[in-house]
Symmetry: D2
Subunit: 290 residues, 4 copies
């Protein structure tokens, strides 16, 4: 089928390519005219036949909100908007209501796969009405990895991004667990072949996983990660996972620990630890570093 | 080759079986005479030819210490003891010194694989002198999974159990991350097909892993885990991981969170939360439950 | 001066009483007519002389929002509304804008002191314009404890409740620290006089504090807290503290641990620990409790 | 009474001074001859009359062990050794057994008070046999703060240091809670008078405490703590608290968070966060800092 793809960056561009390889016709739009097929959103919409499907793959927050608002003006009854970015599930619910007032359908899709997705497929978690998702199945079939899994209709509108948010929360926790284990091995003298130990774990252990495979790749390139700084961004879903948990009174100690470790990694100095140092100095005359 | 196996429980029994299927001759000893090949440790040792190899697969702590002490009396210069149980790495270092005084070699091996190891092989992390490990390679080759990985000489004596300890620490953190994510999905209404979401994650996602596969198996058997209680033992390595980290001043917030969640799961009531309730009542007149 | 007080519960009632003892005239309104001075909000407003001051002391969220909306209809240019409840600081900012459109001032005040405030005074953290706060100083002077401290203009609108929110977050962390220490003493045999130990800490130690005094009171009444259940509510500010921290990328590991411990205390069973038990059973054949 | 004091540093020197001001005769020994009263431990012992009392106030671990071993040689049946340093409670139990074989008593005393103790007294937590503690009461009476509290016989040998260890664990958690709250205030714009807010909290609030008073002192000297680095040592008791908790299966999430924050504060870069950065780069092509 024919589909519009808005946002042709690292994710959107590769997804458009995978769709084309799979036999679909993709009309892409990007703010960068050198990679855009259409000169404007309006032109993109005109080049699609009703009922139209438009996949939005732009940064979450204001950029996504702006694009969806414009699409609400350009599209018509029976068309469908897909938000494949990393939007918050509460934004989805607002967008669906706005579009629904004009008869336009809305589906939110959490997409996992990163730079490996073009080749191996993208895991897709979709939220929306069954009939909207049904119309898009030919698209999902090509984007997803081969085989039985890799696609789910997780729930109604917002369910796709909620599932992706939790996926990313779990990912934070898993990465932190591996990272902590590695740090402990580095700190001790007991294990002398750390890279070999990680490699060996890839078979037969309880912790075998794709993240472990990636750790081995990283360690083979740079065995002590000496080229890297211990500085990690967070992309939004980790924060949202913790905030959703607090809203629902669900304790998430390990995932929250992972999020906080990233916050700390980005501080050049810890204000809290300044206060601890100040207090130790006040009551004990302990030396402070300055 | 011929090897003695002491302890024929769930792990030792299956490992003996895998060794036999792989062409080795195993003489087993167990306190339970109905499954033991030899009537005593002494008889087991006599039925092996020097240089002998004896694999100890009994519970960590006193049982392992007692068996290794007895073996120190029964074995001779050039023999090797393998501790394949879940011993603490500092115990290994003591045992190696004691046995070395008699010319007996010592190798510690961390073993992962659980009930799946008989069929798929056991991941092995070994610690000890290269010559001792070299002598045992035919044994390791059969126990480990097919293919390149699944065995490592992690380091000198203690290195095998240290690596296994960290492996288990990482395992705690990963399990906790998955468990937290599942709890959040259960607490929210946003995702209606939770089992399907976990199934879909098995392909193309960042969190694909053996633990995820096992979660899907568990959820297919009992979609809300309604048959289970939220009660989890800890086997020792989790505690040792945290204690080793504290010794080395390494922060392990996610792994520690996982350990503490298990501690809490085993309390019928939380003493700390009694005190919090008492304090809230003292200062705010807040109602307490009793 | 004359002031209206809306909400005459445990907090509002005692505050009205303290104001009267301090020489102010308080006209109280409560939904419960048996304790209300005025028959309606309208009557309460009519019995005040412009420029009027009305202190709102009702539960945060919808009840506070509803009262402030009504007051917006009843009051006039130059009057002032004080929100002394536990509102979220973002609500304050909305309320101030709404009232300001009608020339009505708004001040938010975080109040600490609980059941002890009537006698010892209430600690007050105020947010708002200096001129509004200046008008209310006679009121604040009577409510606050004697002496130099106990009142602050923390910042502009919202600053009072933000300060109170952080106060409560700190309170969560302190209570959790004391509660954890007490649990460890109870779990060990090393200290046989636990109540005596807490009592002794009240002088000369680093941890001497009002919370410690309250612990001693609680332990003197019930030395093992045997009459209590380990069940603790959370009042909102703890959650908001964590959510504000996540928004600002500030790591709050100890305060968050305290919040999560309360969440856990209210679960009859831990879903996450069910999953951990299920996974242990899947890979290790470990027994599960059911 | 007459007592020997070994170790005349910041703590021991001030305690000797407070004892003298209280009417006791103190013979001090220090490795630094310029502040030592006696030329050797032997001379110190000879200048005391049996039954002798010797207070050891030297760094925990090897220094304390060495001094107590020497005292075991020099003292006689009926004498008493007091360990007032920060020893581990398991060391106490070993020392008591060794000395008891020679008829020498042993009492462990946890001491709190820091640089303020000379003036205000030292909080004392003692462990040992009632008769040994009884003999020392004149000493304790002078060292402790005036009034009812500030001294406890917490339990048998080891109980004093165990109580002090838990005291310090609680102290870690409280300091962390305050430090986190301060960091959040600094990160937000909502509160503009942060120092004033802390000052105001000293009266009427739930969190009023000596640590809060010290924070105010620190903030009055340096309102943003700009002169300090966020770097905090840990003195041993924090680690021991966590290790004792792990041994007893007691969850201490807030206290452990405080300990880990100190570990992190001393790292120039976080190895774990390097690994997280490496993994993000592997799966997502996310930029890394180097």
């Amino acid at each position: 089928m024919r589909i519009g793809m808005i946002g042709l960056g690292k994710m959107g561009g590769n997804m458009a390519e995978r769709l084309r390889r799979g036999g679909h016709e993709v009309i892409g739009y990007d703010r960068d005219p050198s990679i855009s097929d259409a000169g404007s959103l309006k032109e993109l919409v005109e080049r699609l036949d009703p009922p139209r499907a438009v996949w939005v793959m732009v940064p979450a927050g204001d950029p996504t909100r702006a694009v969806i608002e414009q699409l609400g003006e350009l599209l018509s009854d029976g068309d469908i908007v897909v938000d494949g970015g990393n939007s918050h599930y509460k934004d989805d619910q607002r967008h669906a209501v706005e579009l629904d007032a004009k008869g336009i359908g809305f589906v939110d899709v959490g997409v996992s796969g990163g730079v490996w997705g073009l080749e191996y497929g993208y895991a897709l978690m979709a939220g929306g009405a069954p009939e909207h998702i049904g119309q898009l199945m030919p698209i999902f079939e090509v984007l997803k990895p081969a085989g039985e899994d890799g696609f789910v209709r997780a729930g109604g509108v917002g369910g796709g991004h909620f599932a992706k948010m939790v996926h990313n929360g779990i990912e934070y926790g898993m990465m932190q667990a591996f990272a902590e284990g590695w740090e402990l091995l580095e700190a001790s003298e007991a294990v002398t072949d750390i890279v070999g130990t990680f490699k060996s774990w890839r078979h037969g252990t309880v912790i075998r996983s794709w993240l472990l495979d990636l750790m081995v790749r990283a360690l083979e390139e740079d065995p002590d990660l000496a080229e890297l700084k211990g500085y990690a961004e967070d992309s939004g879903e980790g924060r949202w996972t913790v905030q959703a948990a607090v809203e629902h009174a669900v304790p998430l100690p390990a995932i929250t620990a992972a999020l906080y470790a990233r916050f700390t990694s980005r501080q050049t100095d810890s204000p809290a630890m300044k206060m601890v140092a100040a207090l130790r100095n006040q009551f004990g005359g302990h030396a402070v570093a300055s």
